[in-house]
Symmetry: C2
Subunit: 186 residues, 2 copies
């Protein structure tokens, strides 16, 4: 029976996370009350918090999965695909991130936890990947790799913010200009 | 006597705005209750709301002044100075912007009002300035001026977000990489 039980647990977890994502997107982090989480998820608070101890754990798990997905996309398909992906994110869901960041400013412990979401050594993996590209001469060499990473992060943040505001973005043009920023001079 | 009275009104207005900015930065937009506004400003709610009808008007006036200052900086000292300035903004105050954007998503009327803050035709002025630079060949011509403006906005948003999170930014490196993005190929 353990296999059936595992599959069942996994399905429940997915149901909970899907519903929680909808509740956060619809009502915001603060506005996603336990009653609204129950409503979107379709399970009682007892059942929900049996899987995830509190609202923060739910959000953290969703954010970790997003981060994991983005990292995988970056490593497997590269920067352009990742930027394009960011421009297609759900604005309501992106907006939850900005609300959460506002809250985390007053909570350094959770801010650190949040910053390392989706981690498990993948940050090192990304760094190694970027270093490899740098060594192959795929980036300009008159600024440091660190500066290029900081620039990419700023663009990614800016895209996420624009997306959250529902601003139209021309992903092709953006990718082109970003490349001009980081590619070696021709 | 009208001149004395004008000066007095103006001083009061500055006192109110300075205190409101501190209250928003310290407690967030939502957390800046009337009692906290009174405390930071040092005036009664009656006096405060005699100058600005509600909390939104206070925030809107502060955001308009910021926008006006940024636009002036851009037109008088250029893009680099503006990016550098953004990296030195107060993180707590920047964070209020992200909180407000979250709120405005559900309020299209105020979102439009907010988007045109500090306006009075200055948006046209900025566009004309950028068009002038474009015509002088100061930007690359293989993407449209619109795309360059979108890129600059994204970088500005990303810098504001990084600043709000208290992330260290190397303004020199950032300016360099942004220029590589928008300058004509050498």
């Amino acid at each position: 029976m353990p296999k059936v039980s595992e599959a069942h647990l996994e399905a429940r977890r997915e149901q909970i996370l899907d519903g929680a994502r909808r509740a956060f997107a619809r009502h915001g982090y603060h506005g996603a009350t336990v009653a609204r989480l129950e409503e979107e998820i379709g399970l009682s608070r007892g059942a929900i918090f049996n899987y995830y101890p509190d609202k923060w754990s739910l959000f953290y798990e969703l954010a970790s999965r997003d981060q994991h997905e983005l990292t995988t996309l970056l490593l497997e398909q590269g920067l352009d695909a990742t930027i394009r992906h960011l421009t297609t994110e759900n604005p309501e869901w992106m907006t939850v991130y900005f609300e959460v960041l506002r809250i985390l400013r007053g909570d350094p412990e959770r801010m650190n936890e949040f910053a390392s979401r989706g981690g498990e050594g993948r940050e090192e993996e990304v760094k190694a990947w970027l270093r490899g590209l740098h060594e192959k001469g795929e980036f300009r060499d008159d600024v440091t790799l660190e500066d290029i990473v900081a620039f990419i992060n700023i663009v990614a943040n800016g895209v996420a913010l624009a997306t959250s505001l529902g601003l139209p973005l021309d992903a092709d043009a953006l990718v082109k200009v970003v490349h001009q920023g980081i590619d070696p001079p021709k």
